[in-house]
Symmetry: C2
């Protein structure tokens, strides 16, 4: 069939849905924020508003063998939500209702399109807290966070998205029944071991096993006291890495321990003029949130570790506005760098003791390939984001960046790490994943995909 005929067939099968075919809108819905990943041309897009509508769409797509690519806010950094040719883009950003906040059981039930910070704000009104905080939290959706098992700043102490997902409603096919069947996995209880952990399998599966239409998340009581912020400045990335390793070795447990290099600080400062001095080669930002005197002691211990690792200076930030500005720099680093040219984002994660070595290798690899690298890192987790920036339109620079990118992946795996700590495999890390996992594990992954999605309908070509 021609594209026009396919579109007509899809529209005929979905009489109650408003299919989008406008080329400009389709183009906008065809890619996430991974500027380097290729994106195909979708047949159409659908802004679903209910599980029923998702079910009907999946059923129709299965009948017509049209692939389904699900997306939320499109803030992904690996191309996991990029369209494939001839697919239906299923945009869930309008399924954005918080269905329930259960204060007695510390959980919330949400639709997938709820924005992370909106959930945080809603539960905060009840004295509760949803910790996962990817830097994209002001824009990214819970559905996307779950699909990629998003990390963030505070996962150092509070865990990643997976640790907060209790249950899911998913529209699946295969053994679950006819494509378009909605199933519920997981639970509302704090513990449960009834059957294989399908919730855990769906978290991080990047839309390749079905469409998530409802999410039950665990909440925590809100923190009762403002956190302490500790800042350290270092004359090299490696020295900052040594400070991180020392904090881990000493059993310190900051809620966040972030690294920013000079290029990041400068890019934000040039854009937002927050008044942060970009003198040092690297800054470490630690947030300590233990209550009372224990927090005071922990913050002091972090500052001491910074000093002993050779910080130019390290101090507690006593000014909340200043502390907030520092973390704002962290959050704005990525969009600030994007202003300078297409960014190729690394997301390697190495054992924490290997952070200094990985940072040294990053500098060396960047220099050798002549690539401009700015590094931000969830350093306390060993999760590093070297950002490779190329001048727009410079093909030679782009090739050099691609070579550096692959070399960084290889290095991370050699150090006992992974090619993706929190962004997902998507399109950009498929080769890296194969190298990391090896053929046996890739075969197991593929077998699971084929079992749960025998038609290969859900987000084909991604992740596995």
């Amino acid at each position: 069939m021609t594209t026009a005929e396919d579109r007509e067939a899809l529209a005929a099968a979905l009489p109650d849905s408003n299919l989008i075919t406008d080329p400009d809108v389709l183009a906008a819905l065809s890619a996430d924020d991974a500027e380097w990943a290729e994106a195909g041309s979708p047949l159409a897009a659908l802004r679903a508003t209910s599980t029923q509508e998702v079910r009907a769409a999946v059923r129709a797509c299965a009948a017509l063998r049209v692939p389904v690519v699900t997306r939320g806010a499109g803030t992904g950094l690996s191309g996991g939500a990029n369209a494939t040719d001839g697919c239906l883009v299923l945009d869930l950003s309008r399924m954005n209702r918080i269905l329930e906040i259960d204060e007695d059981n510390l959980l919330a039930v949400v639709q997938p399109g709820v924005v992370n910070n909106d959930l945080k704000a809603a539960v905060a009104e009840r004295g509760l807290w949803y910790p996962p905080d990817p830097a994209s939290a002001p824009w990214s959706t819970i559905g996307g966070n779950v699909a990629t098992n998003a990390g963030g700043l505070c996962c150092l102490k509070y865990g990643v998205t997976r640790d907060y997902v209790l249950g899911l409603e998913a529209v699946m096919g295969g053994p679950a029944g006819e494509y378009g069947t909605a199933v519920r996995v997981g639970r509302r209880t704090t513990k449960g071991v009834s059957g294989y952990d399908l919730t855990g399998l769906l978290v991080g599966s990047e839309g390749t096993l079905g469409v998530l239409t409802e999410i039950t998340v665990r909440l925590r009581p809100a923190l009762r006291e403002p956190p302490h912020t500790v800042v350290g400045a270092f004359d090299s990335l490696v020295a900052a890495g040594e400070a991180v390793a020392l904090c881990t070795r000493r059993g310190l447990r900051p809620a966040a321990l972030e690294l920013l290099d000079r290029a990041c600080v400068e890019a934000v400062e040039n854009w937002k003029h927050l008044g942060i001095e970009a003198g040092a080669a690297a800054l470490l930002l630690a947030r300590v949130d233990d209550p009372g005197q224990a927090g005071e002691k922990e913050a002091a211990a972090v500052a001491r570790a910074f000093d002993e690792a050779g910080a130019l200076w390290a101090e507690r930030s006593t000014d909340e506005v200043e502390a907030e500005a520092l973390f704002e720099v962290r959050r704005l680093a990525y969009p600030a760098l994007e202003r300078l040219g297409p960014v190729l984002t690394e997301d390697v994660c190495v054992p924490r003791s290997a952070v200094p070595r990985m940072l040294a290798r990053t500098e060396e690899i960047g220099k050798r390939h002549g690539v401009r690298v700015a590094t931000i890192a969830h350093a306390g987790d060993g999760n590093l984001h070297p950002l490779l920036i190329t001048p727009p339109g410079d093909d030679a620079a782009r090739r050099a960046a691609q070579a550096a990118f692959e070399e960084l992946l290889t290095e991370a795996v050699a150090l006992g790490g992974t090619v993706t700590g929190e962004h997902g495999v998507g399109l950009l890390k498929r080769g890296g994943m194969r190298a990391e996992l090896g053929p046996e594990i890739c075969a197991v992954q593929r077998a699971l995909k084929d079992t749960l999605d025998p038609l290969g309908l859900f987000n084909p070509g991604k992740a596995v």
Copy 2:
């Protein structure tokens, strides 16, 4: 073939292994601690000492189509490690070496037969802590803990076994390669999203997908201060349940919040004479481990919540010996009750707000069926263990207990709970699991099992 011929064939295929065929030893290795679950007659048993030996055994069993039932210490409470007729029992309790403790990265690598408390003791010497603490911790193995995703007391604050498993080595078959292939899943990093979460899928799979031969666990820094213990006595189970619900609602975060009814306290006291008074209908034991003044405040808040929920009395235990004795009562409750007759163990988990209701229904159901019920509970998690005790040899009492058992499962599911919070499905909860999950999810579970173990070799008839 006859059993003798099968045995000979297996022995011939495993010339380097010492196959056990002595009937008394086989009988001892044929069942776990779930006294009510049926156990078959194994062909032979093997006390494996290395991954290589496990690989050879699995390869031989696949060739001969002999099922493989893996076991550790045999402390399971659902029959998950019970032999099936004609199987090879693979006992991993001699694979009990701690291979590595990595202080810089807060992890340990262990063989599956390492006893939980032995790991705790070894890492404590380095100032580290492995939190998961099933009541069986003095005897149960990390391999068994992982296979059942064991819970325990401190998971209220620190999470269950799954939350500590970073990576696994497993001997598998199917898409991983020829049966007997050893694969590595997971990682040594704190975060990672490279491919589907196979580690999470294997945790809690009860030996049905392969044999775990090596486990990498996350550790935490040891706590620096002794915890506070708060004890409350209540004139009814339901009143104690209300106190639990109030603690949750107020955002209090004890590390453990345990409930013991009078029957449990009496059984332990009659056995061990620890000097604990069994006057009240129910005791709540809370352990608070926030450091410094924050801990003092939290402990006081827990005591206040107990009082306000109608405790007969509630007090901070200032005597460490007494506090330890109280938690010892908790740990000894199950073996103490086992002395009185075969115990049928419930393991329901309900949303925490439903704890009072579930406790009331438990009493009512026990009375109606004329069954002696003693209840211990990880009450703060909503995970309740009503223990149904029958006089040995009394068939009518046994039938009544079975009826009460099934009714408790139904009630837990009706309250939004699960039939098993931490013990696993094994043999005892298969019917309950089907009722809880429904046919679509059971079909998905079954499809995963068939994909990863196409010969149905691993622990057949259990869990799925």
